[in-house]
Amino acid sequence: MYGLGIVKGMAVTFKHMIETYLDDIRWIGRGGRYWNPDALEVRQNILGSRGTVTINYPEEKLPVPERFRFVPFLVTDDPPPGQSWGHDWCTSCGICAKVCPPQCIWIERGKQPNGRPKPEPEQFWIDIDICMNCGFCAEFCPFDAIKMDHDYELASYDRSAAHIHDKARLSKPLSYWREIAPRKAAAEAAAREMAEASKGKRRSKDDGADQPTLPEEHLQQLYYRGSGY
């Protein structure tokens, strides 16, 4: 029958419309379907939810996964009590500046009084207008000193100064990284520890037959399953 295809198609639309209300009704007793973190979790998962899946941004925000990449930040030690600044992890080796595809990282290496290079950056800039959020700096940093941030709300009225992040703006304590990416941070800490422990061993004994390996849960979190360490 001519027109049957349209009727069937409209039935699909109608089904979707009804489902929206059904899911809304289902959430009435549990605090509603909107502006409710529990409901948000279910709503964004299309395998478990039906009906509307949209998010009321910025009142509601989607949680980002641990691997989410936005403009990088520099990791420092947690500041000791009474101080506002922890020790930089960055040694200004320059790998991030070399690997950066759009070349948005500028590093001024620190100098000791006798003129020799100091393993610490004097200044560190990232031009976030140029940064393409690829994550290579974090991936290839041998000291885990630069990480991709999760804060994606960086809009400002002034692009000339506000969009060039200097070292003070970039530095964030380790506890911040632990907070936004707990499992990844734990895996990295374990990997560093193991690399440190096996360094001495490798010098004394040449064969790497029974090299200790990290547990699977850690390996899954790391770049290249930890083969960079």
Binding site: Y2, G3, G5, I6, K8, G9, A11, V12, T13, H16, E41, Q44, N45, I46, L47, G48, V53, V64, P65, E66, R67, F68, R69, S92, G94, I95, A97, K98, V99, C100, P101, Q103, I105, W106, I107, E108, R109, P117, Q123, W125, D127, M132, N133, C134, G135, F136, E139, F140, M148, S160, I164, R183, L219, Q220, Q221, Y223, Y224, R225, S227, G228
Partner: protein, 603 residues
Amino acid sequence: MTVETFESEETPVPVYTDPVEEATARLKSEYPELTDDPRPGYTGIMVPPERLVEVATFLRDELGFNYLSSITGMDVIDENKMETVYHTYSIEKGGGAVVLKVQTDRENPVIPSLTPFWPGANFQEREAYDMFGIQFEGHPNLRRILLWDEFEGFPLRKDWREPFYEEEHKPFGSRWPEGAVFRAEQRNPYGKNVQYPKGWNPSMMDLETDETEIYAGVTVTRESTPGLKTEKVTVNMGPQHPSTHGVFRMVITLDGETILRLQPVMGYLHRNHEQIGERNTFIQNIPYTDRLDYLSGMNMEHGYVVGVEKLMGVEVPERAEWLRILVAELNRIANHIWAIGFLLNDIGAYQTPALYMIVQREAIIEFFEALAGSRMMFNYMRFGGVAYDLPSEFRNMPTMRYLETLIFDQLPRFVEEINVYLTHNEIVRARSIGVGVLSGEEAIAYSTAGPVLRASGIPYDVRRADPYSYYDHLDFDVAVRYNGDVYDRYLIRIDEIVQSIRILQQVMPRLRETEGAPIFAGKPQYAIRVPGGDAYGRAEAPKGEIGYYVAAKQRASNPDRYHVRSPSFINLTALGRMAEGHKVADVVAILGSIDIVLGEVDR
């Protein structure tokens, strides 16, 4: 019936298993003056420019290499030569490419055009002219295509410098160890870093251009309808028509409402991806490839890593290959879902179908975000593996369980829903059946690829014809439809989703088997050096064959030449042919059915 067997003892006929070897041997016996590329690591047959047309037509008509996939210009400044590289394939026999290379004088590069014989060469030759200034003799409309007509110089020549030129190759020395931040625009644009034509004076600039050359390409001489006084009208559709999928313009000559001639005008998003690629180190290009076709970044990366791995000679671990196929096929589904949704938008079913499609696509894209760290700019594949293993859990369930639910339950269910919802809809059928027909022969001649080629009855799929990764271990069919109209290009995308689901269903057990296996070969390196030579990596992207021609010098860290064979760009060559004789409203549907992404067309 008797079977005759030939046994010639004097001259044993060589038996070839590879069609490329056979064709190369026959070509050389026919034209003894052809030689192999003498440079170490480079492959291809050097053809003298004056014999090119002869050799190419022999290759096409006698040897069956009828598919001219890619044309690459190249500046060989060391030898003071300009080179053009042609990759031709056999649709019937499959397999690799017969590569023809033509070298000519660098100062006055003239090469005969192949466009009269292979209409698919049209845009690619124009691109080579645009970037290198190679004159293709006999080309019907040799104008700039990606840059504007008034542009001075040829930007991919090795002696050309861009306005904010810093150094020949990255990494730039000004970044470390004594970096001091500066912005590119702080350097005065009127300084020595900008090139102007000789004697150019900004106050004398003539901003009024009547674009006669663009319109000259669409001028039609046709008798008007007898008895009626009609006039042909030239209309610009775009740039930025809402349903042209980006900043794209079509110059259309109309007779009433019927299209007589259509010419695409593009390049509004041009950023010279290829030159950026030649400044970059090899690994720095991976995130840039995501930005070509941003709807299927995984497939874009896949072609590039396959190409560079050929150059490097790296083996990829098993689990990494399965992960690559997983993400490539999921991305293909996501892309086709999007394409169908927006084709419906173009036909006039505004937003509702597209919205349902986007909801499904979200299930895939958000998984990619958890896997690779970004929704679209994945930067996931590396030379010799992938960056990350699967995350342990996603959406409060183990990732493997999420994927299994998606692949075995959700996506098949969704394909069924699309079929009920749209496939038999009478309005969709009325708008799309018989519209924008491209015959099989034309589809090959125009070098179209992907769904456009397969909807015209040509079952050519790189995954089957020239398998890369582990596609030869997988059981799937090459989707094919025979009418070559908009409706078939819609149906073939659904067919391909079904085949991709089939592939994924075979990949899931392999992923379970290889859990805990390495995903990267060797130690991760950021400064990769390759043995010299050239390589062509190709992969079946959702929009067609994505190819990367990468050439590098011995122990180089940067490619010497980096060329992208972008499928939507070349598929657009056939747009004019498809639109001929249809109404203005159909053009939008035809364009939607090609499924272009301007990031990749304009590069």
